[in-house]
Amino acid sequence: MDIVRITFLVGAVVLVPAALIAYVLVTDLGVRLLPPRTQPRIRPWLWILPSMLAVTVFLIYPTIATIWLSFLDKAGQTFVGLANYGEVLGDGGVLVSIRNNIFWLVGYTALVLVFGLILAVLADRVPYESAVKSLIFMPMAISFVAASVIWGFMFAYQPPGAPQTGTLNALLNLFHGSPIAWLIDHRTNNAALILVAVWVWTGFAMVITSAALKGIPEELLEAARVDGATELTVFRRIIIPLLAPTLTVIGTTLVIFALKAFDIVYVMTSGNYNTNVMALRMYQEMNNNHNNARASALAVLLLLAIVPVLVFNVRRLRFQEAIR
């Protein structure tokens, strides 16, 4: 079994790239048979062909197909117009998911940006900066599934009186508070899930913010200090405005992630106790209820929510290309 698997793996890792490289070499030999003037017209298409094929099959076609499916009935036979959307938006569970996605969008994005900024600015002023950054950044390397186990253990709850093995409830105990069922209690559970994602992603925001921070010329800050500006004024009036473009870009990445949030909710609560989100709800419609029509409508709603960010990204790139 293992020998078979290893052979398979080595085969895939060696043979597939070899085949792809052979593709480039062989097609180029073919191109060279053409008259010299037509060669540069044909060649680029052959180089982008494998990528374009994969992107078409796995991104472009499925997106269009899903939009189409969202207008068909459950069996995928009859055109039903906006009926699926009506059904989905009339569902109380879906509305809760939309509300939760808004929680994610606002809470997660704001907290990651703020923590990332605070950590970047503070770490910038100490000699052990790189150690701090490594430790904060480390959760980015682990899966949301593992992060969910880590935090499930932090949030662990025992009834009052029993020994609290979860770190947070033990801390509460220490201050004579009664333990909280963080993931079940409606007042805390969405915040608890969002916190897990914040813990994972803060390092991302911190590292980028920190790089941008290092790009601010020291003379500028020094000049302000000489003029009598306090550290707080320097931060608010100089650092923040100069970092604003970077923070905006980090923000767009976070917004996309907040709308797509899936793993943490799937693992920690399965969307129960009013914690469901759109991406998980879509998966449940597809996988548990086998209702591709409603699942497609949910996916399209998700896509619609992301379109503004998508347009923003494309516009930014066009601008960059223009000044390139």
């Binding site: 597939v16 790239p17 540069p40 982008i48 994969a54 899966s143 767009t252």
Partner: protein, 304 residues
């Protein structure tokens, strides 16, 4: 997917300015005690959860259920490897580890190879619709996977690929490509054009230029990208969940561990051990190649 793509260029614009005088900065601020306390405290808060997991994974069940993990830090030290033995023997975490490798390695190698071809063409070849196609790719960066799941699953079911590693490799290739091409084009496009002109004068065709010039010079970008793609595919839950169909023979660690969470509930001695097995390799990759990882995110060196 699509982690921070547009960030790359943004930070690149800020990075190349002259470095400031580090020593002076530290002299001014080192004295402030509250700053240091706040920072150390924040960092501690960040590592405590992982530490709790690691410590607990070595503790016997009866202790996990009755005492906090922090009590393991004082004598008598009672640690055990039984949790690891049990998750490996009974809960097929070992198989899941091999499955994760089987998924992640080809799902890293394949998209990077074809993305390099495309990035080269987008950077140094002229063809109609070049910019429009590239903008299309940038737009696709933000498309949520959920929009693609049903039709792609239908394709896989029709072709009999559902539940095979090939399906997951192909899907990860499609999903990873926009970011891969974007990152590589930023890098390859920034190589000096005289390089290609002199190569052409020397009679080197595009193929030679690609293999002899572009690839060797792009090693830093390729390395960053490889780390990203490896971590994404290793840590992915959704793609494996949907296209592998839940059979334990092919389930990667993420699927296996998330199943354990629902079947074991509070069995934290096993959950912590299983989770740590799933984290070990990405953490090693991260610690060993952190420099490339950070560089990939900030890409200060990518676009000159």
């Amino acid at each position: 997917m699509a982690v921070g793509a547009p960030v790359v260029a943004e930070v690149a614009a800020a990075a190349p300015r002259p470095a400031r005088v580090e020593a002076e900065r530290r002299r001014i601020d080192l004295g402030s005690l509250p700053l240091n306390v706040a920072l150390v405290l924040l960092t501690a808060v960040w590592i405590v959860p992982t530490l709790a997991l690691l410590v607990s994974s070595f503790r016997p069940r009866f202790l996990i259920n009755t005492t906090g993990w922090w009590q393991a830090l004082v004598p008598p030290f009672q640690f055990t490897l039984n949790n690891y033995r049990e998750v490996l023997d009974t809960y097929s975490i070992g198989t899941a580890f091999v499955n994760s490798l089987t998924i992640a390695i080809p799902a890293t190698v394949i998209p990077i190879t074809i993305a390099a071809f495309a990035a080269y063409a987008f950077s140094w070849m002229r063809f109609p619709f070049r910019n429009s196609l590239f903008l299309l790719l940038v737009g696709l960066l933000a498309v949520p996977l959920q929009v693609t799941l049903i039709p792609v699953l239908q394709i896989f079911t029709r072709t009999g690929l559902t539940g095979t590693f090939l399906a997951v490799w192909l899907a990860h290739t499609g999903y990873g490509l926009p970011f891969a091409i974007y990152l590589l084009r930023n890098f390859i496009g920034a190589l000096p054009s005289d390089l290609f002109e002199s190569a052409e004068i020397d009679g080197a065709g595009p193929v030679t230029a690609f293999f002899r010039l572009v690839l060797p010079l792009s090693v830093p970008a390729l390395a960053s990208l490889a780390i990203f793609q490896f971590l994404w595919t290793w840590n992915d839950l959704l793609v494996a969940l949907v296209y592998l169909g839940g059979s334990p023979d092919v389930a990667p660690l993420t699927v296996n561990v998330s199943n354990l969470v629902s079947s074991l509930g509070q069995g934290y001695e096993l959950l912590t051990a299983a989770a740590f097995v799933s984290m070990a390799l990405p953490l090693i990759v991260f610690l060993a190649l952190q420099r490339y990882f950070v560089r990939g995110i900030t890409a200060g060196a990518v676009k000159g």
